[in-house]
């Protein structure tokens, strides 16, 4: 039963990851290929001395999920992307399914005996 739940939950978890990516991309202002660690916040202000509007940019630190991780080096950050996370969940789901089959086969064998 455990392996069955693990397979289903792992498969289901792929959906929120994709939703999070879409939501983060929307928040960032463009579809994110790579996960980002900072974002620019632009504000426009009229400057009476120069008689024109100027854009002021401030940097906001944080994390925005992209398709790919923000690093190519071996570190826990390598999972911080939709593709590696979904792949990990898919692999876990397949592993759970395989374990379930093995368990079933064992049970069948023991019943036959």
């Amino acid at each position: 039963m455990f392996w069955k739940y693990l397979s289903i939950i792992s498969l289901i978890l792929i959906m929120p990851v994709i939703v999070l990516w879409l939501s983060d991309s929307n928040d960032y202002g463009r579809m994110l290929i790579y996960s980002m660690e900072q974002k620019e916040i632009k504000t426009e202000e009229y400057d009476p001395i120069f008689g024109q509007k100027f854009e002021k940019t401030e940097i906001q630190k944080g994390f925005w999920l992209g398709l790919l991780p923000p690093t190519d080096q071996i570190s826990p950050k390598i999972f911080l992307g939709v593709i590696p996370l979904s792949s990990a969940f898919l692999a876990l789901s397949i592993f759970g399914f395989v374990m379930l089959r093995i368990q079933k086969n064992k049970k069948e064998k023991s019943t036959n005996i």
Partner: protein
């Protein structure tokens, strides 16, 4: 002897006429050289670089504290402006720490060997006054900046479209900083290949554009 003096006088007159004919002023009845230095109190200084490639668009910026710049401007002859903009390579950021480390690394901009990128303004051409407000002591000119851009120890002549706004010192401006104000904004593009930037194999042209667009908004005050 008189003939020679006449010839010299004519020559001086000719050169002066030529200089006047090809020099532009802000139309604010101001003259003389002013030296301007970058000042964060005058306005939000900004230096950005953008790369557009099929797989990714990268928007980067330089930490404003790592930029130093000065401009010498003759108010009666804007064309004669000279100056420098220098910024530190390791202050260039793209929003991803690992990517920044690659950017500063030997395959890309090699910050350890070439810690600074420099633009040296030689002069301005095609100067055109586009806005003038003498009561406020303010005028704006559009021009083409001619200069030398140095990156990774390689220097190339470049031109950049610029917009220059001059504001004469007043009680109003003194609340921010002393002296006259200058705002310079513009953009130009550079080819990475021109500066021997090899990059990680296969990345230039796919994830990083072959050309990088640089935009700047710089605020100065005079001494």
């Amino acid at each position: 002897m008189i003939k020679l003096l006449k010839f010299i006088a004519l020559g001086v007159l000719f050169i002066t006429t030529l200089n006047t004919a090809f020099s532009t002023d802000f139309g604010l009845n101001l003259s003389g050289d002013r030296k301007f230095n970058l000042n964060h109190n005058v306005g939000p200084n900004e230096l950005r670089f953008n790369s557009s490639a099929p797989l990714e668009d990268i928007v980067g910026y330089v930490d404003k504290d790592a930029i130093s710049s000065s401009v010498t401007l003759n108010l009666a002859n804007i064309e004669n402006a000279t100056g420098t903009v220098v910024f530190k390579v390791d202050a260039m950021e793209t929003g991803i720490k690992t990517r920044d480390e690659h950017l500063h690394g030997p395959n890309w901009l090699d910050a350890s060997q070439y810690p600074e990128i420099k633009f040296e303004l030689k002069n301005l051409k095609d100067v055109k006054i586009v806005q003038k407000d003498p009561p406020l002591g303010r005028a704006t000119a559009e021009a083409t900046a001619v200069g030398v851009f140095t990156m990774r120890g390689i220097s190339k002549n470049i031109t950049s479209k610029v917009k220059i706004t001059f504001v004469k010192e007043s009680d109003f401006t003194m609340k921010r900083a002393n002296g006259d104000f200058l705002f310079v904004e513009g953009s130009f593009s550079i080819k990475l290949a021109d500066f021997n930037v090899q990059g990680t194999k296969g990345v230039i042209g796919s994830k990083v554009g072959k050309e990088i667009d640089i935009t700047y908004k710089l605020f100065y005050n005079s001494n």
